[in-house]
């Protein structure tokens, strides 16, 4: 084949992948702005579903719950996970290898099983159900991701840099704030985003741990769809997609993932 035709083939392949990834989302976003509740064409631009959304207290409450839990989860999981990654990278202690191995199974175990076991365990210990239980579950779920992501950053981080800073006169606190933290920042931010996404996406565990009357967005969307689909779901999804994509772009612009220039 001639080089140009290989190029064209490559671009075609890329286009197909992009279409596969983004077409469903685009269709959904378009329908959020379509007047017809039954997905009828021709497309008529209307904000009627966004207006309906503003009156849907359940959906709004669930969204606020989700955002709160995701944000608090991101903070807690990132702080704890970074500390664990630090310990793994900088200290030798008995059982380190075993602990490292134990990190991975929770990523592989189906959420349904984790959710069930958490429900039983929380019931048994008296933690019960509720937003606090959901948060606890999400932190436990996102910790391994944070440790792995921040740990990868540590692996590319030469501890001699910290030594060099100390010889130049930096106190341990200065070494941490001026050398360690800035160099880990891309990893920590990526980990926080991961933790946020893991929590914001999480359906199974939230569904199991949510008591009647309280729910998170995925749970509420699931409940709403069971009752009958309304384009309000499209509207709220569109808002979420725009916000999260904006956030990702902002972060990607300011931090280079995967290394220094």
């Amino acid at each position: 084949m001639r080089p140009e035709s290989i190029d064209r083939l490559g671009y075609g392949y890329l286009g197909l992948i992009l279409a596969f990834l983004y077409l469903p989302i685009l269709v959904m976003m378009a329908m959020a702005f379509n007047r017809s509740p039954l997905y009828e064409l021709p497309f008529t631009f209307d904000l009627v579903w966004f207006k309906a959304l503003s009156n849907n207290a359940r959906l709004i409450d669930a969204s606020i719950n989700s955002l709160w839990i995701a944000a608090v989860n991101a903070v807690i999981a990132t702080v704890l996970g970074t500390l664990v990654a630090y310990a793994f990278a900088r200290y030798e202690f008995p059982g380190k290898q075993v602990l490292r191995l134990l990190l991975l199974p929770p990523i592989a175990i189906p959420w349904l099983i984790i959710g069930t076991s958490m429900l039983i365990f929380f019931f048994w210990t008296g933690i019960g159900r509720g937003l606090h239980a959901i948060l606890l579950g999400h932190v436990a779920l996102s910790l391994p991701y944070v440790i792995v992501v921040v740990g990868a950053r540590f692996a590319a981080f030469d501890p001699v840099l910290e030594e060099a800073a100390a010889t130049a006169g930096a106190s341990p606190v200065q070494v941490f704030t001026r050398i360690t933290l800035p160099l880990l920042a891309p990893g920590i931010i990526a980990a926080a985003l991961f933790a946020f996404a893991v929590s914001f996406d999480q359906f199974v565990i939230s569904y199991f741990l949510a008591p009647p009357g309280i729910s998170t967005l995925p749970v509420e969307i699931y409940t709403a769809i069971r009752k009958g689909f309304t384009p309000e779901i499209n509207a709220i999804s569109t808002l979420i997609i725009l916000v999260s994509m904006g956030l990702m772009l902002l972060v990607a612009r300011n931090y280079r993932f995967g290394g220094e220039r």
Binding site: E163, A164, T167, A168, A170, P182, L183, R261
Partner: protein, 351 residues
């Protein structure tokens, strides 16, 4: 500027002694080379002076003040690492300014000092680059400038030129020595490269298996090694072993080798001290030792020739001689040659 005294320091890792009772004094303004094979403990000693390792025994003093309990950042040292350890998220200027910034130095002073150092290490105009955009030699200079910026009392160099290629390393050796002279800072450096140690140091110390083997000026240690290890570590050495006799060593075949210090069982001679000539008599003659042997290898390397010569009385290991390539004539494999060298260059050593 400072005088560093290390007295009887020891460090053990389990049953292994990384350092075993080492005492050394680094004089004010001295360029001192710690030389030894890897695992000898030289790096442990340097890191102990830096404050990264606490000695199990012994003391370390800067200008008479004990520092074992002083943390790294308060010791007033500057250090250059083999990998340079430049901060990748900072520019060259920010790297150099780091030691001043952490001491809350006024901005104007920092800027001035950074300019001064950039100038000093010949990196004018590169202050805004990131370290990754610099060549190895330039990174090395930044590392040196960063170490010098806070005007440390002692400069520590850990294999400072180890990551550079040979030609650049030789250039940097000259430069490093000039810089050290002009500041007059007490400098301690670690290297496994004997040539580098001989070139740079005012004094060297050879360390082996945690113990000090020999300390002195490079020339003195090279010409008068105390033991076999020191002799071999600083270059090639032909070993002459036999029974002690009145004037020196008597080899297995009865040939007497006169030794500078007299009676000995073990002596060495450097390969460049040896003249290679047509076969003549053996034994001591007019202040020279003589042996005969058969050329096994003649290695031509431009300016010089290296002969590996089999001398029956010395067993299987070849006698090595370096000869300047002055004349076109050279001996070939199989030729019988006479080896002669001054008695004064025949040094008795401990095993």
């Amino acid at each position: 500027m400072s005088r560093v005294e290390v007295t009887g320091v020891a460090k053990r890792y389990g049953a292994v002694a990384a350092l075993d009772g080492v005492s050394l004094t680094f004089e004010d303004g001295e360029f001192f080379g710690l030389l030894g094979p890897s695992g000898s403990g030289k790096t442990t000693l340097l890191r102990m002076i830096a404050g990264f390792i606490e000695p199990d025994e012994g003391t370390i003093a800067f200008d008479g003040e004990r520092v074992e309990q002083v943390p790294v950042h308060k010791r007033g040292i500057g250090m250059v690492f083999q990998s340079y350890a430049l901060f990748p998220h900072m520019t060259v200027a920010q790297n150099i300014a780091f030691g001043l910034d952490v001491r809350a130095t006024p901005r104007a002073d920092v800027a001035h000092r950074v300019e001064e150092l950039l100038d000093f290490v010949q990196l004018e105009g590169l202050g805004n680059r990131k370290p990754a955009a610099l060549s190895g030699g330039q990174q090395q200079r930044v590392a040196l400038a960063r170490a010098l910026a806070p005007r440390p009392k002692v400069l520590l160099l850990d294999e400072p030129l180890g990551a550079l290629d040979r030609k650049l390393r030789q250039e940097m050796q000259v430069e490093l020595k000039e810089i050290q002279r002009s500041i007059g800072i007490t400098t301690i450096f670690v290297t496994h490269d004997q040539e580098e140690a001989l070139t740079l140091s005012d004094r060297i110390a050879i360390i082996d298996r945690g113990k000090l083997v020999q300390v002195g000026e490079p020339r003195a240690v090279y010409e008068r090694p105390r033991n076999l290890f020191a002799a071999r570590f600083l270059g090639d050495a032909n070993v002459l072993e036999g029974a002690a006799s009145g004037e020196g060593v008597r080899l297995a075949d009865g040939t007497l080798i006169a030794v500078a210090g007299g009676k000995a069982t073990l002596a060495v001679v450097r390969p460049e001290k040896v003249d290679v000539g047509a076969a003549t008599a053996r034994g001591v003659d007019g202040g020279s030792n003589r042996l005969t042997g058969e050329v096994r290898q003649a290695i031509f390397s431009g300016a010089s020739l290296t002969y590996h010569i089999r001398v029956p009385a010395l067993g299987s290991s070849p006698f090595i001689a370096f000869v300047q390539n002055r004349t076109a004539s050279a001996y070939g494999v199989g030729d019988t040659v006479s080896l002669s060298w001054p008695v004064a260059d025949t040094v008795a050593v401990a095993p």
